[in-house]
């Protein structure tokens, strides 16, 4: 099987799901989600057995199937599956906010559209031409407009959707205008050819830098870095929680593979590398500061995770800016992939707990976590593992990612940005552990609340993610193999 059959299979799966959703009788559409899980699981397994050798056709100038692409495809598939599991837990909330007056909710599509987003993200992982990058990125972005606004009876969700729409469209404008200039100065659309052209010394540097700046702004929107990070808290707070998780992990990961590939082009050019690195380091430091310092006073857990997502973007940009040497035998792109795989596990673990709290208390405020340790020790422990990993406590998978970034910065002797990273990580210790304070120190609000029951699927998912966080934090080999594929 050629490698692009993976994307074809996912798109076909999405179409089949839409048809099933529309034409199979019955109000309970959970089977759509279950089918999606099975289908995506099959594709995920299949992605380890496809034939990746390119043939002579012109298709391969738009498409790359290197190890990095395969890693990001796996991240996209795993993330989508976990988001669908989260969505199953979130159905009561969806039911409430999509129902007509006196009618039933309509949430069947909630489990179809992520499949198309997944196809888009998988395509982004492989895109190696300005055209395919643009189209796949827009497939993801436009589908996300719909998903963020999905709870159409909820003002927060609608407003988040409009904010995301305006800024998403703005970033698209910057992206295409940047692409235009990149095409203008090089006359090419394939990234490898552009890279060769930029490095040949025949290209004017000022317009090239102009296009770099425009593209960087657009990508900053996708990955949640300065200067286009300000939409994140509001959109994350308003969007349905599983979609927030999806934005925070899937969309960011897909943004980072494109960023990695485009930066390779610019950082590979001797004429541009100096200026580009300086800009990137400034972006990394600013993102680390903004994300971590603004997270400190937050009292809403969803907004807290939003700022945490910004701060992680700062670490990731730092890894990319640290230069081609990488660290511990991993190239910068591989470090970013490693970090994102770790980030996927721990962030989705945190969001999985948040979804349950959303469902039972109707709130995502930190106070909703008060006394969780007494109501459900298991959930409290799951969130403890998640925040420990997000904060970068060793023996969790999040620490390894952070160590790799630190090592890359040390290797490149970037002492000032390393200082910012340390300040950011220390601030992280404070704001991530705030939720532990609520869960363990504080008593439940309003006396004793009922114990929380979890479905079998949720329990299994939580256990799997906890185990992955701890085991991969000790046994580094599987993720090293994954990103070195």
């Amino acid at each position: 099987m050629p490698v692009y059959s993976l994307e074809v299979a996912v798109v076909l799966l999405g179409l089949v799901l839409l048809m099933m959703e529309a034409f199979v009788a019955g109000k309970d559409k959970r089977f759509v989600a279950h089918t999606a899980l099975l289908g995506l699981g099959a594709v995920l397994v299949g992605s380890f057995f496809v034939d990746r050798t390119p043939d002579a056709s012109g298709f391969w100038s738009f498409y790359k199937a290197d190890g990095l692409a395969m890693t990001y495809k796996a991240i996209a598939l795993a993330c989508t599956m976990l988001v669908i599991v989260l969505g199953l837990d979130y159905i009561p909330v969806l039911e409430k906010f999509t129902a007509r007056v006196g009618g039933h909710g309509a949430w069947g599509e909630f489990f179809c559209l992520p499949v198309f987003i997944c196809a888009g993200m998988m395509w982004m992982a492989s895109a190696s031409d300005l055209t395919s990058i643009f189209v796949s990125l827009e497939l993801v972005t436009i589908a996300f407009y719909v998903m963020v606004t999905f709870m159409r009876r909820n003002v927060g969700s609608l407003e988040a959707g409009v904010k995301y729409l305006i800024l998403g469209a703005l970033s698209t404008g910057f992206l295409v205008y940047g692409f235009t200039w990149l095409f203008g100065v090089t006359g090419q659309t394939n990234l490898d050819v552009i890279a060769a052209k930029l490095n040949s010394g025949t290209v004017a540097t000022v317009p090239a830098m102009f296009s770099f700046a425009l593209i960087l702004v657009a990508l900053a929107f996708k990955i949640g870095a300065v200067p286009l990070q300000f939409w994140i808290p509001d959109v994350y707070q308003g969007a349905p929680t599983p979609i927030t998780a999806y934005l925070s992990v899937g969309s960011k990961a897909a943004g980072f593979i494109v960023t990695t590939r485009i930066l390779q082009v610019f950082l590979g050019s001797e004429a541009l590398v100096h200026n580009c690195t300086a800009i990137l380091l400034a972006v990394a430091c600013a993102t680390l500061l903004v994300g971590n310092l603004a997270a400190i006073p937050q009292t809403n857990f969803k907004r807290l995770l939003a700022y945490s997502s910004i701060s992680h973007a700062g670490f990731l940009v730092l890894a990319l800016a640290a230069g081609p040497a990488g660290a511990f035998g991993l190239a910068p792109g591989q470090i970013v992939a490693y970090y994102l795989a770790a980030y996927l596990i721990m962030t989705l673990l945190a969001f999985a707990v948040l979804v349950v709290i959303n469902r039972t208390s109707g709130s995502d405020d930190l106070n909703a976590f008060n006394g969780l340790h007494q109501r459900s020790p298991f959930l409290a422990f799951a969130l403890l593992v998640a925040v420990a990993s997000l904060a970068g406590v060793p023996l969790t998978v999040g620490f390894v990612g952070k160590l790799l970034v630190f090592a890359a910065a040390v290797k490149a002797s970037l002492w000032l940005p390393l200082g910012f990273a340390i300040i950011g990580a220390v601030a992280g210790f404070y704001y991530y552990l705030k939720v532990l304070r609520n869960m363990y120190w504080n008593a439940p609000a309003g006396g004793t609340l009922p114990a929380i029951t979890l479905s079998g699927l949720t329990k299994a998912t939580l256990l799997l993610l906890i185990a992955a966080t701890v085991v991969l934090g000790v046994w580094w080999a599987p993720l090293f193999q994954l990103v070195r594929r």
Partner: protein, 105 residues
């Protein structure tokens, strides 16, 4: 004779006007129109670059292909975007960005 620079100047103006509109205007519909203008600016300069960057005496069709994709995607974006704006209008009876403040508290 109209040169590449003239096209780029017009396209740059379009982009700047669009960006200014996004930043300055408060009506979401107008903002959305300005966003589309930014995409058109990109299209114009892409076409100009293709026309003046000839390959074997013909325009460089790579750039023009990208233009078609941009037009298509922009249409999809408008379809989804207007639907979202209408849904917001139904719920809040406003299309003014300053009124979008449910998350400020």
């Amino acid at each position: 004779m109209i040169t590449l620079n003239d096209y780029l100047l017009v396209s740059g103006l379009l982009f700047a006007i669009g960006l200014a509109g996004v930043v300055l205007r408060r009506n979401i519909i107008i903002i959305f129109m300005c966003l589309e203008m930014m995409l058109s600016a990109a299209n114009l300069s892409l076409v100009a670059f293709s026309r003046f960057n000839t390959v074997n005496g013909l325009p460089d069709y790579n750039g023009q292909m990208l233009v078609f994709f941009i037009i298509t995607v922009a249409a999809a974006e408008v379809a989804v975007g207007l639907a979202i704006i209408i849904a917001l209008f139904r719920a809040r009876r406003t299309v003014h960005v300053d009124d979008i403040d449910a998350m400020k508290h």
